[in-house]
């Protein structure tokens, strides 16, 4: 199964109607009981090409491990940085 197929991914998928979301929830609940992972491995390679630029659609798609000109950090490192009382402390912009 692809690394991005997680409970979170399934729960956040767009459904055409509320009724569809309710029906899908039962299926997802079953997968949760069966042991489907909650979230993706942070360093799992989804095979997405980092040279593609901005994605114009389907914002919930997998992301690349790296991108040209940027430094990537893990969540653990981010956590440490946020805990620091420093002027260099990063700002996190949450979209949800």
């Amino acid at each position: 199964m692809e690394p991005w197929v997680t409970l979170r991914w399934l729960r956040h998928r767009r459904r055409p109607t509320d009724a569809a979301a309710a029906e899908a929830a039962r299926e997802i609940d079953g997968l949760a009981k069966a042991g489907l992972r909650d979230h993706a491995e942070e360093e799992g390679d989804t095979g997405v090409d980092s040279e593609l630029g901005l994605r114009p659609h389907d914002y919930m798609s997998p992301t690349p491990l790296a991108a040209p000109g940027v430094i990537t950090i893990t969540t653990a490192v981010l956590s440490v940085m946020l805990a620091q009382d420093s002027p260099d402390r990063p700002v996190v912009l949450a979209t949800t």
Binding site: M1, E2, V5, W9, L10, R15, P16, T17, D18, A19, A20, A21, A22, E23, A24, R26, E27, I28, D29, G30, L31, A32, K33, A34, G35, L36, L52, R55, H57, D58, S61
Partner: protein, 659 residues
């Protein structure tokens, strides 16, 4: 004279053998002359608006029609080695020695009629509609019967006045051998024919661009022939063209037309033509009656039913020629070997098999033979519990038929794989894509399909079939896996193809189906449901359409309404190789409704039939097992994490599948 097995229900009042009634026991006396059958190209024609013309000017119309027949139509029939079989009120039957001759004759008649009508006031013009088909016919002294004749008559009714309609099998035989621009009119529903007909039309406007006919002028001919015209011939036209059509498909345009032995001699005892299997058409199959060992009549019925179902299913393969069951059953008592029967019928492939029971088991052996070389291409054994259970037997028949359909397609696709690429026709390429449809849809397979269909469109730029097939190949990964970066390009190209197909063959099933698929891929589920539902209203027994409407209901969160549709899809599609999709979708709907036990049953059944089992199925099973809260939930969890799911590149996320 012919020594035959007695007929269980004897003969019907017409003297024809009763269908599916040949099983029984031998008698050693002569029963009856065999029904004479032959494969024939059938051309039907009639006068458009004949009643109106007669109402306006009875004598004048009669005279004009006689003149057309004597001066143009009869000479053209003779020129192309035709033979008039029968005249009716406003129609007639004629026969030819080849399908090429039949189509050429029809085109030249229409071309000639355009010339002859040029100086006639429009409301006095006599215009013929002509339809041509190829099929198996029952021959009697002054008439012929059979489905092939009926189809020709329906094609004729679809033709425009001054135009010609042909069936797909005719189109496939003439291909590029004749310079007539037949248009694909898509599938058409016609009266008393169960399946839609694929129709190709030559429009009246095209006639003017054809070469002028070589007949003498009407005035010159009138002097010599008017006296010989009979009132009988004045009543319009149905034309029969009997021909070894598979032979014509293999010969070069300059080679002579092969003639069927059965056609050449009306009095011949032969019921079929003799044609070497080596010159058989590409996908031509005879399904020989399955043998049943033992003396149980129910086993004999099951064997006959199996033969019927295989024949019916194979006949649905596009561009295939399948020998009619009645012809195949005439070999039931024959001592000829399979390859000899194939040679007599001029077919490439032979399906044969047997049914017998041992202990509590019914066993069916089935095999596919390449009659040109004698090679066994495919063989399988199917067992089922011999308990008197209609559903069990139906399941067994379904398995055999599904497997054979895929086996036949694969055999022909493999043969085409060994042909020179430039020798393949659009129909060949479409068949290769159709065969691949029953195998795993990998990116590599999609690339091959795309290349083949693009090539088919180069060869036949107006092929609706190729347009729709390519649209489906492009959209398939989006429907099964979900959108990716290629989605906009795929959708744009697919829309172009569907729009183009719609301009050529609007309101046809394949185009409407593709339009509904476009709605689906764009997430417009409600509209897609309505579009599929409209098609389902026209074809209520269609597995795919029942499945598609159900799929829309599931996507919209109305799984309860999907259940009856999916159950019907599975019932009517028991012999459809794609039935596993409906079984999996039913499992999916049941999980969403909390009916996990039954869901597991359907999912396991679909899993057995699927050419490849993706993570979608494993995840559904895992969810159902987990909900059941039984120990086997661990089996479900194992399924989810099994190598098969983890390592499969073509896995689909838990969304509804389509086929």
């Amino acid at each position: 004279m012919w020594r035959v097995r007695t007929l269980q229900r004897s003969l019907d009042p017409s003297g024809l053998p009763v269908a599916a009634s040949y099983h029984g026991y031998h008698i050693d006396k002569v029963v009856k002359q065999p029904v004479q059958r032959r494969l024939a190209a059938i051309l039907a024609a009639d006068v458009a608006g004949y009643s109106r013309l007669m109402g306006v000017d009875e004598e004048g119309t009669h005279e004009h029609l006689k003149a057309h027949l004597s001066q143009l139509i009869d000479p053209k029939i003779r020129e192309h080695r035709g033979r008039t079989v029968k005249n009716t009120g406003d129609g007639m039957l004629v026969e030819f020695s080849s399908v090429i001759d039949a189509v050429r004759c029809a085109a030249e008649v229409q071309r000639g009629m355009a010339d002859r009508n040029a100086k006639t006031p429009e409301d006095e013009r006599i215009a013929f509609r002509i339809g041509i088909n190829l099929g198996d016919v029952i021959v009697e002294a002054s008439d012929i019967y059979g489905d092939g004749v009926n189809v020709a008559a329906r094609l004729e009714a679809l033709a425009e006045p001054g135009g010609i309609c042909i069936s797909r099998v005719v189109r496939d035989q003439i291909r590029d051998r004749l310079p007539y621009p037949f248009e694909d009119k898509g599938e058409q529903n016609v009266k008393n024919i169960a399946r839609p007909l694929r129709v190709y039309a030559l429009r009246p406007e095209c006639m003017a661009e054809l070469p002028a006919t070589s007949l003498p002028s009407p005035t010159a001919l009138r002097r010599h022939t008017a006296l010989f015209v009979t009132i009988a011939t004045a009543s319009a036209a149905l034309v029969i063209a009997a021909v070894t059509w598979w032979g014509s498909s293999m010969r070069t345009p300059s080679s002579p037309s092969p003639t069927m032995a059965g056609v050449a001699s009306e009095n011949s005892a032969s019921t079929v033509s003799v044609s070497p299997a080596g010159s058989a058409p590409h996908l031509s199959v005879v399904v020989l009656p399955f043998d049943s060992f033992g003396d149980r009549p129910e086993d004999a019925r099951l064997a006959d039913s199996l033969t019927d179902d295989i024949t019916t299913r194979l006949a649905q393969i596009p561009n295939a020629f399948i020998v009619a069951r009645t012809t195949a059953f005439s070999f039931k008592a024959s001592s000829l070997a399979a390859h000899e029967i194939a040679a007599k019928l001029g077919v490439r492939y032979v399906v044969e098999g047997s049914l017998f029971r041992f202990g509590d088991t019914i066993r069916i052996n089935a095999q596919l033979i390449d009659a040109t070389g004698g090679a066994h291409l495919w063989a399988r054994r199917f067992d089922t519990d011999a308990a008197d259970d209609g559903q069990r037997q139906r399941d067994l028949i379904g398995k055999v038929v599904r497997s054979l359909q895929v086996g036949v397609l694969d055999a022909e696709a493999r043969r085409l794989d060994h042909q020179l690429p430039n020798s393949l026709t659009a129909a060949d390429l479409l068949l290769q894509v159709e065969a691949a449809r029953h195998h795993p849809h990998t990116p590599e397979a999609e690339a091959v399909d795309t290349e083949r269909l693009e090539k088919a469109l180069q060869l036949e730029p107006r092929s609706v079939e190729a347009m729709i097939a390519l649209s489906h190949v492009l959209l398939r990964p989006l429907l099964q896996i979900g959108p990716d970066e290629s989605a906009p390009v795929r959708v744009r190209r697919a829309k172009q193809l569907v729009d183009q197909a719609r301009t050529i063959a609007p309101d046809t099933r394949s185009v409407l189906d593709a339009q509904a698929e476009m709605l689906r891929v764009n997430g417009r589920w409600d509209e897609a449901k309505s579009a599929y539902q409209q098609l389902l209203n026209r074809y209520p027994e269609d597995r795919h359409l029942n499945n598609q409407v159900a799929l829309c209901y599931i996507a919209l969160g109305r799984s309860e309404e999907a259940l009856p549709l999916l159950r019907k899809a599975i019932s009517v599609g028991f012999d459809d190789p794609g039935v596993f999709v409906s079984e999996i979708n039913l499992g999916n709907a049941l999980i969403r409704l909390g009916q996990d036990g039954e869901a597991v049953e359907w999912l396991r059944r679909g899993k057995q039939e699927a050419p490849v089992v993706g993570a979608f199925v494993y995840s559904l099973l895992a969810a159902a097992y987990a909900h059941l809260a039984i120990r086997r939930s661990s089996e479900g969890a194992r399924s989810l994490h099994s190598d098969g799911a983890m390592g499969n590149p073509s896995v689909a996320p838990p969304s509804a599948a389509a086929h």
